[in-house]
Symmetry: C2
Subunit: 236 residues, 2 copies
């Protein structure tokens, strides 16, 4: 097995952006922390790593290389497996979009953990309520509108002409996650982003993704991950 992926076993989380690219491309990987005692095994693996070690999961191991940070993993997979065009203008553009996805994901996490990452959501509910309101009203349309414009900048069906890239599979996950976390808000505004929704649907139809979504490798969203559905954070 060429790749070993290490990530928390019970959530989609940040690891999902890596899984989606691997699955869409049909690249074999072992999701090492799934199964019995996965979390313990992940923590033990992390603790044993010295030298060029990850700050946090997910990380990908191959041929003696260990790469952490979602965007860095995707950059590596993109380069090695041709998941992005080789032209510099395309490579840096797709990576730029992925880094904007990274920013959005951090802000999504901040909605339910605005003042203390180590505490529970129920210990910061009033603060989360306020963070959710500014996210729903301001940041969410700003990010979605930006990605809609990025799609409109390309004449074809994807972010880059004629082919999916890792940023396309990442935008699929953004739509999925926001629909789960903010069903009322997304229902109200997603009509404003027809290109993004069409992209989401196209990614869902990729053969590798179709198979993945039906498999037990795709975990359900839940309240331990990055995207969490708390009705009280989904607005009036």
């Amino acid at each position: 097995m060429a790749y070993k992926l290490w990530y928390w076993p019970a959530i989609q989380g940040r690891g999902e952006f890596v899984r989606l690219a691997l699955e869409a491309a049909g690249i074999e990987y072992e999701d090492c922390a799934r199964g019995k005692d996965g979390e313990e095994r992940l923590l033990a693996d992390m603790a044993a790593r010295l030298g060029r070690a990850p700050f946090a999961p997910p990380y990908l191991e191959t041929d003696g290389l260990v790469i952490a940070q979602v965007a860095d993993i995707l950059l590596y997979l993109g380069d090695r497996h041709g998941l992005v065009p080789k032209a510099a203008a395309d490579r840096y553009w797709i990576h730029q979009l992925q880094l904007t996805v990274t920013d959005l994901v951090a802000e999504v996490h901040n909605v339910h953990h605005p003042v203390d990452m180590r505490a529970y959501y129920h210990d910061q509910k009033p603060e989360a309520g306020r963070a959710a309101k500014q996210f729903r009203d301001g940041r969410m349309p700003k990010f979605l509108g930006y990605f809609e414009d990025a799609l409109a900048a390309n004449p074809g069906d994807w972010l880059i002409d004629g082919r999916w890239t890792y940023a396309d599979t990442s935008l699929f996950q953004i739509v999925e996650g926001l629909r789960y976390m903010f069903p009322r808000r997304m229902a109200a505004i997603e009509g404003d982003y027809p290109g993004l929704i069409r992209l989401h649907d196209q990614v869902a139809q990729l053969p590798g993704i179709q198979a993945y979504l039906k498999s037990d490798r795709r975990l359900a969203f839940n309240r331990e991950g990055i995207f969490r559905h708390y009705p009280e954070l989904d607005g009036e």
Copy 2:
């Protein structure tokens, strides 16, 4: 002039990570929004960009390419100007560290704006107080300890043997920023990170950085940027 850099004119902010790499390498650039009416000119430039546009400043323009996102800009400069070794193991490692710097910078901003990015600090002071405490006690030592270990993983004086990279100049800025924002906390703990402090001092001695820090191109830290000094956020 080969490069045009666009960033908010009155703060170091995220743009500083790009400036430091350019200055250390002696690469010529124009800091386009400095000077009269800089903010208006930046906003007008942003508004006029269609197609592959930035989500936010900073962005770098060269040869018809426009690259946004600090880590993407540094990746590009690293590849084009040899600011990182060509070996894959080194390139992805240095980028991974830069992405961890990105995460840290987002958390630093979250300390003074935990619940509403669009509101003022004084409209979210109690929340910021709580966010600051968890940052000082938990996240700050975790990040600094991680970077210390990353340095210790290399036998030489830099993150990579024998030469500075853009991640070295970025870590210099992290030390500078945290000393400005949390002088009491940093004084209390920075002795735990001797490698990181030595790295900071080495970067300050690079000829390009020495010249830059003495010039009026280097802005002072202030309360409009990412790193902000509010004494009430610096501990008991």
